[in-house]
């Protein structure tokens, strides 16, 4: 079907409720729709969707064998046609016995925020960018990777907050959330996802 000789139509003259639209890739129509349906479908599908997840690590030290995890399953979340950004915040309530005057500002504060984590994926890509407090790493969708999410510094030591990320085309899972050296800080981890498909 050669469409080169077809007349063009001003968009303003399209009757959205009545006119039938055929989608043509190159020369051959491959699909049809009422104009309004096509428009609505396009706009709605391009609207971002928002998701929250939260997990609270609050058990005592040396009882950390429980697997703290959080899990998000959204259809096509990590497909190549989807983009998303996930901001992760870490709120810690420090026990006074954990800190000393040598920890400087930490000594006064009970509520502290740790460095944030950002995960993002762009349209057309099958890899995820993960930015923590000091580096950016790229991981492939479908794999399993250990990452450092954030860190806390006290008593002249750094304690990394770790996680094992597992992804499929529809899900992202944060497993084995824990601090290095089996340390536990009362930590609320809030995930805010914005995805567009």
């Amino acid at each position: 079907m050669d469409i080169s000789s077809y007349p063009t139509l001003d968009v303003e003259n399209v009757d959205l409720d009545q006119d039938l639209v055929f989608v043509s890739n190159q020369e051959y129509p491959s699909a049809k729709s009422v104009a309004q349906t096509l428009l609505s479908k396009t706009n709605i599908s391009k609207q971002p969707s928002y998701f929250f997840r939260t997990v609270h690590l609050n058990i005592e030290p040396r009882q950390s064998r429980i697997n703290f995890l959080t899990f998000l399953h959204v259809e096509n979340l990590l497909s190549t046609d989807c983009q998303f950004i996930c901001d992760v915040e870490f709120f810690v309530n420090l026990k006074q016995s954990f800190v000393s005057t040598g920890d400087g500002p930490l000594y006064d504060r009970k509520t502290i925020l740790l460095p944030s984590l950002v995960l993002q994926k762009n349209f057309g890509e099958s890899s995820i960018s993960i930015q923590n407090y000091d580096s950016t790493n790229i991981i492939d969708v479908g794999g399993e990777y250990g990452i450092t999410m954030s860190k806390i510094h006290y008593n002249n030591n750094d304690y990394n907050l770790k996680s094992l990320i597992t992804t499929t085309v529809d899900s992202i899972r944060f497993d084995y959330l824990s601090y290095t050296q089996n340390q536990i800080f009362d930590t609320r981890i809030n995930f805010t996802f914005k995805s567009t498909y």
Binding site: V11, V23, S33, L39, I44, Q47
Partner: protein, 183 residues
């Protein structure tokens, strides 16, 4: 109209930059570049705004208003960042297209707020010190449907949890990003 065209299925996806739309208008078949069609008729409703407010023990309020902001087809995220000399926990409200309920996430977890309703005396943020002083930032979260919809927090104030306050003032930096169909 050729039978072949009538039997076509609806598109799952297509590239608007390379596709043509054939439009049957007044019994004539016309063509329009897909990207032109979408750019012209796409909903011009992206809404970005921000507000900054200083908070004290007196009531204050922050809200964002926009037509159709709370309509079924709208979606948005509102973040309320709090702090003083340091950053405090953030409160975030989200709504997705097709939903008639919003979700609020704070340092205490996640809760739901129905559109048209309000959720009173919410602990939005907090700041505590090792010597036992704790002050929360509290407020009423409301999602108001009217001629112009609005989402916001009212009666926002510092509230001492301990006898002595940990802070005497704070700031709130609020941001909204919304997409409202037919707005």
């Amino acid at each position: 109209m050729p039978t072949l065209l009538q039997e076509l299925s609806e598109p799952v996806s297509y590239d608007a930059n390379t596709s043509w739309l054939l439009i049957e208008h007044d019994n004539t078949l016309y063509k329009i570049k897909s990207s032109v069609f979408l750019d012209t008729l796409s909903i011009q409703s992206d809404y970005l705004d921000s507000q900054y407010k200083t908070l004290s023990f007196q009531d204050s309020s922050i809200s964002f208003s926009r037509d159709y902001l709370l309509s079924t087809a709208s979606s948005f995220v509102v973040t309320f960042e709090f702090g003083e000399k340091a950053k405090f926990p953030t409160a975030t409200i989200i709504k997705n297209g097709g939903d008639n309920v919003c979700k609020l996430m704070t340092f205490e977890g996640i809760s739901e707020i129905a559109i048209g309703g309000s959720y009173e005396n919410v602990n939005l943020s907090t700041y505590a010190t090792q010597d036992g002083r704790q002050t929360n930032i509290v407020g009423n979260v409301s999602l108001t449907q009217a001629l112009t919809d609005s989402v916001g927090i009212s009666s926002v104030r510092l509230q001492n949890i301990s006898d002595l306050s940990s802070i005497n003032s704070a700031y709130c930096c609020a941001k909204i990003q919304a997409q409202a169909y037919n707005a």
